[in-house]
């Protein structure tokens, strides 16, 4: 579960990067009454033993879909998104090592949780879905920070 797959990530720097672009990104979101990540209250109900799998799946969601589907022209926003995307790539590698040691098992609940995120994403036109998911990064970052705290001695 989680304790064995901790990502000693500096999520503070990621949250800073997101805060700098949050207003601009969320302003582009034209479907304010729809959510992709936030709809999954299930994120809050994820059990510690499923955190590694859900983290891995949601990192893949952002890396394989969201960041690819969003084309940004503003250099400042582009730099911040790149910073987050490359940090997620690094986190994936960290979790990859964990997975190879079979400590990142995916139970059905975890798989269902991330499937609903993909289903929400598919409901929208791709660029709208990407913008909305970028705007909800704070939900995912907060969840990572909460669930990936190193256990203090």
């Amino acid at each position: 579960g989680l304790r064995k797959c901790l990502i000693s990530m500096d999520t503070h720097h990621l949250e800073e990067s997101f805060q700098e672009i949050k207003r601009a990104i969320q302003a582009k979101d034209t479907f304010q009454n729809v959510t992709i990540l936030s709809a999954s209250e299930t994120l809050q109900s994820i059990k510690p033993s499923d955190v590694c799998c859900v983290t891995k799946n949601l990192l893949a969601f952002y890396v394989d879909r969201v960041f690819k589907d969003h084309r940004e022209l503003n250099p400042h926003i582009l730099r911040k998104i790149s910073s987050i995307a490359n940090s997620f790539l690094y986190m994936q590698k960290t979790l990859q090592r964990c997975q190879e040691q079979r400590r990142c098992h995916c139970r059905q609940e975890a798989t269902n949780a991330t499937r609903s995120v993909h289903e929400n994403y598919d409901q929208l036109e791709v660029h709208s879905a990407a913008v909305k998911s970028l705007g909800e990064l704070n939900v995912f970052l907060a969840w990572i920070a909460k669930n990936h705290q190193e256990i203090s001695a």
Partner: protein, 204 residues
């Protein structure tokens, strides 16, 4: 059509110390003219998923300098491809790309500067402020019992930190190393500094 007549910058290299990263290159010389340079970067993410995307660096678009501070751009521990080109009026050179992508985990970490003082019987240390990514592992011991080393993690530099209340007449030694969790590395220890405490003042 004014493209790529200008020679591309040569001899690109990255100099990175204590998580400050600088790309450097040789100047393009055009007598009597000022040549400008622009730097772009591509993280591993862009290289793998958005290979046509290069990102303009934060500080080096049409700069006269032949170096570029990329510290704010290289913010993940993955390889970054870097390239630079020259511009003179309407002429732009081809891009010149760094031979090997740069990863910040190769930065040089130097032993931290430290100031060891005493405030009465209190042993106090102040460490170099190297930025938010740095923590410090401080080791201190009584000189007479060098085997019994105490360790303290100091979360940031630039502020005095109390290490221990010393015993009268004893001598204490201190050394420190810089730790960067983001890249999972630390510097060598600094040279040890020792300080002596006066004997307790006898009542009059």
């Amino acid at each position: 059509d004014g493209v790529a007549i200008l020679p591309a910058p040569q001899n690109l290299s990255v100099h990175s110390t204590n998580m400050k990263h600088f790309l450097m290159w040789s100047p393009v010389i055009v007598p009597g003219e000022t040549v400008y340079y622009s730097v772009e970067y591509q993280g591993e993410y862009e290289r793998l998923y958005l290979s046509d995307v290069w990102i303009p660096s934060s500080w080096c678009s049409l700069t006269e300098k032949t170096e570029c501070d990329l510290t704010e751009d290289i913010t993940a521990t993955v390889p970054y491809s870097l390239h630079v080109r020259a511009t003179l009026g309407s002429q732009t050179s081809a891009w010149s790309t760094l031979t090997h992508p740069f990863n910040r985990n190769s930065t040089i970490l130097t032993p931290p500067w430290m100031d060891v003082t005493k405030d009465g019987f209190h042993l106090v240390i102040e460490l170099e402020d190297l930025g938010p990514q740095f923590e410090f592992l401080v080791a201190y011991w009584r000189r007479e019992s060098a085997t019994k080393e105490h360790i303290k993690m100091v979360r940031s530099g630039g502020i005095p930190v109390h290490l221990v209340t010393m015993e009268p007449g004893a001598a204490y030694c201190v050394k420190a190393q810089a730790v960067v969790k983001a890249i999972g590395r630390h510097s060598a220890f600094s040279q040890a500094e020792c300080i002596e405490v006066q004997e307790e003042a006898l009542p009059l």
